[in-house]
């Protein structure tokens, strides 16, 4: 068979596309959970957080977080009227056992729960040299601990300080948004154990998720919006002094 130059030029891209499919293999069958049907984020209501530390303890138990490390934590802010730009922040053990009752005179006082923002344009994923940290199709940033080489670049890249170097596994570790729970239809351990509903897991692709009604009537904010990381943790009642 002889091919003309025109025919060859038509066939080459077609063959390349076909080869891509051969390389990719057949997609894995996921019986109950279709990752492209979801887009996960979280709603954090500052006006409801009581700093009890339930989320921090639940996260540690659910995910075997090593002692002294945190995937989620609570910060207590004290904002003085004269030092709005320099709030006093404390977080004893990440708020794991709550906060001492000590009173600050005047000013504003509130708790801010923090965790991985599962950013859409996450700096941590961009810097990984081996493809060990990645975005799942449902918007969760995960670490493939079998593939991680432990270079710690992502730990430095995260502007929210949400990653740590696992002391015994010697790989990067972080919040998985309880991927093993949300894929089974459960909520995350922190949201399950929050007694006031200050944390709520949100599925933006689910039209009946209460997040949509909430966002229509409330002003929300993300942390460090100027970094344009596409953070998906939406805070209600966030004070401008929070960093």
């Amino acid at each position: 068979m002889m091919l003309s130059r025109r025919q060859l030029l038509v066939l080459l891209p077609a063959a390349a596309t076909a080869w891509e499919f051969v390389l990719a293999g057949t997609p894995e069958a996921a019986p109950n959970y279709n990752s492209t049907d979801h887009w996960w984020g979280m709603l954090l209501d500052i006006t409801k957080c009581i700093g009890c530390g339930n989320c921090v303890r639940a996260c540690a138990l659910e995910n075997d977080v090593p002692e002294g490390y945190l995937r989620t934590w609570i910060e207590r802010y004290h904002v003085d009227d004269f030092h709005i730009e320099n709030p006093e922040v404390d977080s004893p053990e990440g708020g794991k056992e709550g906060f001492p009752s000590g009173k600050f005179a005047g000013g504003k006082n509130f708790f801010v729960p923090k965790l991985c923002n599962h950013c859409v344009d996450s700096p941590c994923t961009q810097v990984c040299p081996v493809g060990a940290t990645f975005h799942t199709p449902d918007g969760v940033v995960l670490v493939d601990q079998d593939y991680c080489v432990g270079c710690r670049y992502c730990v430095q890249a995260c502007p929210y300080g949400c990653r740590y170097f696992h002391p015994t596994k010697h790989v990067a570790d972080k919040c998985t948004l309880c991927y093993h729970r949300i894929t089974r239809g459960l909520t995350t351990a922190c949201c399950e154990n929050c007694p006031t509903g200050a944390r709520q897991l949100a599925d933006f692709k689910n039209p009946s998720d209460p997040i949509h009604a909430f966002l229509k009537t409330h002003s929300v904010q993300v942390l460090k919006p100027h970094l344009a990381t596409g953070a998906k943790n939406f805070y209600f009642g966030l004070d401008g002094s929070v960093r």
């Binding site: 894995e28 339930n54 639940a58 659910e62 708790f111 995960l142 093993h180 399950e192």
Partner: protein, 157 residues
């Protein structure tokens, strides 16, 4: 017509390239995991591995299946939105096999104050007490039933 002896150096070069290409393809197939690139620039199988981890908190829906009475009494009170394991701890193993683990009653002396101890940073409307002043050292469940903690007017001292 090009004579063969004029092309041997080209053929040798081509052979070197061919061997290099074969080596590249062999190493590539050995070192790159099969599922790499299935969803993006990462090992696709890592997704299923992350999803396969065991759970420790069963979730309140599971608790309520077997404990409807507790769920009903809780639903009436101000603790309606507090999920079971927030106080009782992680009990997924109990949910899978009730005989494997008997849940212990929470230690009321420490449990209640975790949320209800006075702290200026807590939201204004949230019920907070100085436990020592409030009860004079008595345990909270002397007056308050944790599933539905409001104290009836008549019972107030």
């Amino acid at each position: 017509m090009i004579k063969l002896q004029d092309t041997t150096h080209l053929l040798r070069m081509a052979a070197v390239f061919a061997i290099g290409l074969v080596l590249f393809l062999v190493f590539r197939s050995v070192f790159i995991p099969k599922s790499f690139g299935r969803y993006g620039h990462f090992r696709g199988a890592a997704l299923a591995e992350a999803a396969a981890k065991p759970i420790h908190y069963a979730g309140h829906q599971t608790c309520e299946e077997c404990h409807p009475d507790e769920a009903a009494s809780k639903a009436k009170g101000v603790h309606a939105h507090v999920n079971c394991e927030a106080c009782h701890g992680p009990l997924a193993s109990h949910a899978t096999d009730p005989s494997s683990l008997t849940p212990q009653l929470p230690d009321v002396a420490h449990l209640c104050v975790r949320c209800h101890a006075e702290n200026i940073a807590k939201p204004q409307g949230f019920p907070q007490v100085n436990a020592a002043e409030h009860s004079g050292g008595q345990l909270c469940d002397t007056c308050h039933q944790p599933h539905s903690p409001a104290v009836a007017e008549g019972a107030r001292k």
